[in-house]
Amino acid sequence: MLLEVKGFSKQFGGLAAISNVDFSVKKGEIRGLIGPNGSGKSTLFNLISGVYTPDKGRISLDGEDISGLEPHEIARRGIARTFQLLRLFGQMTVLENLLVGHHAHIRYSAPAAIFGLPNVWAEETRVKDEMMDLLSFIGLADYAGMPAGELSGGQRRLLTIGRAIAMRPKILLLDEPAAGLSPVNVDNLLRLIVSLKERYGLTLVVIEHILKVVMDTCETVTVLEHGEKIAEGPPAKIKDDPRVVEAYLGKEMSDAEVQAFLKAS
């Protein structure tokens, strides 16, 4: 297992946002993470990436225990993520956003940078070329010098994915990558995500509300409800699981129950 989460729990006040969740992802997999609003999907991402510390539970990446590490340490070990609300560096250029993502792989010392030594220029040229490559791949090369805040909504979503991939992660957590995109763009994004996975040898975990995305791309789907894992398996099976249907659509009432409900109200 590449990522292994055991018994994660997190309470906010009296609310159990995540309770006793196990979550394991194989290397090279595309995993879907679904569930109704407030079911704890984003909280799980925040726990994995170290933004929140779990009340209980352990996490390991590639066999190494990374429980309790800070977000930047977890990032350096190979977990990258995007945010539902994007969180780009709006006043920095598109290229600079990727360069920030590549931070951990830039090889010169702080004193060398302060004195502006030639090895700094050489390394800067090398990483800028590399990031321009990535920008062309996600189709944003023409906007390299533009402030990220001036991109369109769809381009911003692409850029957050680009920034995460610039980290050269082992595993990439995508939080609703297709939210707000038109159906055509959703298809394009799906193709891009799959090709990025192939090109960079990624393992992916995708939170998505657009079920088409999950059903078409994921090999395995995990379903959360009220902070608990209620189902896990291939998409076709998940779709017909009664607990999943209930979580999304509610429970079918018997005639007697309907009568009782009408009387009460």
Partner: protein
């Protein structure tokens, strides 16, 4: 186009040459003194722009760091006979340590709250100097010896200019190198979004402290240069909130987070400060008003406006080129 070492060096050599002849244009001693003050303020403002403009930490403690640099340098050379060339690094070291201490509250505080905390620290530093006899208390610290090269004292306005100028130019060079490197990008990232910066692998606390440390070294250097400037006298009143507002004005007017911001601002504000000296009782009001107007109507300062002019010209040129291309076809 890849920049070769030679191509990178020539703007700096050109700048050095221009600054070398600049004070010779005038024979007026006061103007030469003013040029020196401008360059010392450039060092202060460039340092403040790193921590405030690039790393986005709203500090009001920068002036106190200059005070610590000035008083350290003064005490070392007046009481212990330490030559200027050792007192200067000593002042930078003391200011650097104080800067890291001022930076620690930034782990928990942001924006106005951080401003208040650093203001408190800064004022207590000033009050300490103005109440301690060892540092001359409210009378001021006098008889600070000038720097010497061999037996030659650097105590004329012209010779002091030639001491300050290379230091200011070096300060500008280092700031450009830092801000154009991964360090500068990390500063900006933690200004824009600390959470996104940390999940991108940036150690936010480390880079906050680094920003405070670097800017404090600038302040310490500037403070030391103020102390040894003829007639070798410093006073707690040189390091009040008024001076801090003036410094903030330099950075805001020049362009917060613009690589040239501190430089443009320091030059303009020092000149305006000097021209309005006769109306000193209104200075703070005028400067405060300029800050409000700048933030409202040109939030990126003069540097930002210049950038936009260039961007518009490039954009128009490109549009014209593509229009001609489609006409030809």
């Amino acid at each position: 186009m890849r920049a070769t070492p030679v191509r990178r060096a020539w703007p700096w050599l050109l700048g050095f040459g221009a600054l070398l002849v600049l004070p010779l244009i005038t024979s007026n001693a006061y103007h030469r003194y003013l040029l020196t003050i401008i360059l010392i303020n450039v060092i202060l403002a460039v340092g403040l722009n790193i921590v405030k403009g690039f790393a986005g930490q709203v500090t009001v403690g920068h002036i106190a760091l200059a005070a610590i640099g000035a008083y350290t340098s003064a005490a070392l050379s007046a009481y212990y006979g330490v030559p200027f060339w050792l007192a200067l690094p000593g002042a930078m070291l003391a200011a650097g340590l104080a800067g890291v201490m001022i930076g620690i509250p930034s782990f928990r505080l942001e924006g106005a709250y951080l401003a208040l905390a650093t203001l408190g620290l800064a004022e207590s530093v000033r009050i300490y100097f103005s109440a301690t006899d060892y540092f001359g208390a409210s009378i001021g610290f006098g008889d600070i010896p000038p720097p010497f090269i061999g037996g030659y004292a650097i105590n004329t306005h012209l010779s002091y200019y030639y001491l300050v100028m290379p230091l200011a130019l070096a300060g500008i060079y280092f700031s450009f190198a830092i801000l154009r490197s991964d360090i500068g990008r990390s500063f900006q990232a933690l200004r824009e979004d600390p959470l996104a910066a940390s999940v991108s692998g940036i150690n936010v606390r480390k880079y906050k402290l680094l920003a405070f440390l670097i800017s404090a070294l600038y302040a310490g250097c500037a403070g030391s240069l103020q102390a040894h400037l003829s007639p070798g006298f410093i006073h707690p009143n040189n390091y009040t909130i008024v001076e801090m507002v003036t410094l903030l004005l330099m950075v805001v007017l020049g362009g917060i987070g613009h690589i040239w911001g501190g430089i443009i601002g320091a030059v303009l504000v020092t000149i305006v400060y000097d021209l309005t000296r006769d109306y000193y009782q209104y200075q703070l009001a005028i400067f405060g008003m300029i800050i409000v107007l700048t933030v409202t109507y040109m939030p990126k300062g003069i540097g930002g406006i210049i950038d936009r002019l260039f961007a518009e010209r490039r954009f128009n040129a490109r549009r014209k080129a593509s229009a001609e291309k489609s006409n030809a076809a």
